[in-house]
Symmetry: C2
Subunit: 251 residues, 2 copies
Amino acid sequence: MNTQLVDLDKKAPISSCPNDYHPHCSNCRLAGICLPFALEGKEIDELDNIIQRSKPLQKGQHLYREGDGFESVYAVRSGTLKAYQTTDDGREQVTGFYFPGEILGMDGIAKNSHASSARALDTAAVCEIPFTSLEKLSADLPHLQRHFFQLMSREIADDQQLITLLSKSSADERVAALLLSISSRNARRQLSATQFRLSMSRVDIGNYLGLTVETVSRVFSRMQKMSVLQVENKEIEILDLEALQKMADLR
Amino acid sequence: MNTQLVDLDKKAPISSCPNDYHPHCSNCRLAGICLPFALEGKEIDELDNIIQRSKPLQKGQHLYREGDGFESVYAVRSGTLKAYQTTDDGREQVTGFYFPGEILGMDGIAKNSHASSARALDTAAVCEIPFTSLEKLSADLPHLQRHFFQLMSREIADDQQLITLLSKSSADERVAALLLSISSRNARRQLSATQFRLSMSRVDIGNYLGLTVETVSRVFSRMQKMSVLQVENKEIEILDLEALQKMADLR
DNA sequence: AGCGCTTCTTGACGCAAGTCAAAAAGCGTT
DNA sequence: AACGCTTTTTGACTTGCGTCAAGAAGCGCT
């Protein structure tokens, strides 16, 4: 298990979360989209009490591994993580990317052990939320229970979107859909919807979308040639959002 | 909305559930795998109180449609249902098949409207579980809350399995995996793991697995020729379970 | 600045699964 | 049992993406 720098909690301010001089859910700029959403005053304090913040991860480091005992779910505070499974012939399937304000680890509840592994794509900070505490608190705070049900439901709906994508779409459509997903998740956090840095490699993208690296690369080149995108290494600029939406053709 | 024969509840016995002379969760033979799992005596009564059983569906009939307001989740009592989404160019993506004892509709919680449609593949009976009641009851019954979290988590984990399947596997592997999934879900209900009738069409199977009908048909033929399966229309017999597992090659 | 390693791009070629087409089998209806 | 409709099967052909290969670019390390 990962415990490297204990007691960052409540002492050192986390630089990547500039407003959290004294980290607390109530002054985290992600509160509006993260777990505290729909809670107020005293309730947020109660939630904050069960949250542990001692988990800064280096790039490549694991938050948990498939098969690990399930104890907590995690909220991303900064950075990006990917979740993936390994098939027994050694191939890897990326099942999701997680950005700040998003929750991961919920797939471990069913069997009380993690169904996937999660690793940091860059330096990442997470809030650990012990699940038994969350359960207890949920029983007392109807809004929290409701919101957590909603978060799990969203994960299901997102996975189903991906299923449709993998099942029905061409390489172009898949890449377009991923870019649009990242774009809208950025917008949710008040970041640019048209200009961003991909924290994941082409390999990860291909893996997530069920494509090879080569195909992903070719799609990027093609979209660049059509001036839909400006690709410069990991920096992406969406030049023609409408065209991209048309390509992705999502409901 | 579907309300055709009101008040079957507590009066007419449902023939497909022979032990339910007086339908009640405590004497339903599916109790061990369905929602009541992990509840006892009085708790089961409380759950039973919120459940509505007035929903027998004809083949082809919808339980709910994408975009419908979300009010309840449903437990399958008999028959089979499929969940699917429609892309805006009119194509359909089957996202899951649901057998007796399984819960569907949980993808509607997030947005308070159903993210997919559900229709019966044969005559099917379901128990309707109003979600607000379930939420309230969950706050009082820790075991119920826990179990419902687990059910949602299982749905996530299952979807991720499907994602891996769609992303990495050949047509043979996909079909093998589906057959094994059906097989083990049958076993869970004390039915034969090697002999069963497919309630879904080849089109639905292909749709679910991201394949065309033709490919599905060819795979069945091929597996029959290899004497892994005995296929007679919708009746399937698994002749060589090990070979099938090897083909599916799931973790 | 130079080295080694990893990631990314581009091209040539092959194959698994899609498409098109047509026949056969199943099934409900009268 | 004859009809029409849907589902399933099988064959021939096409194609998008995977595979293989080689070079280019990026990046951390000394």
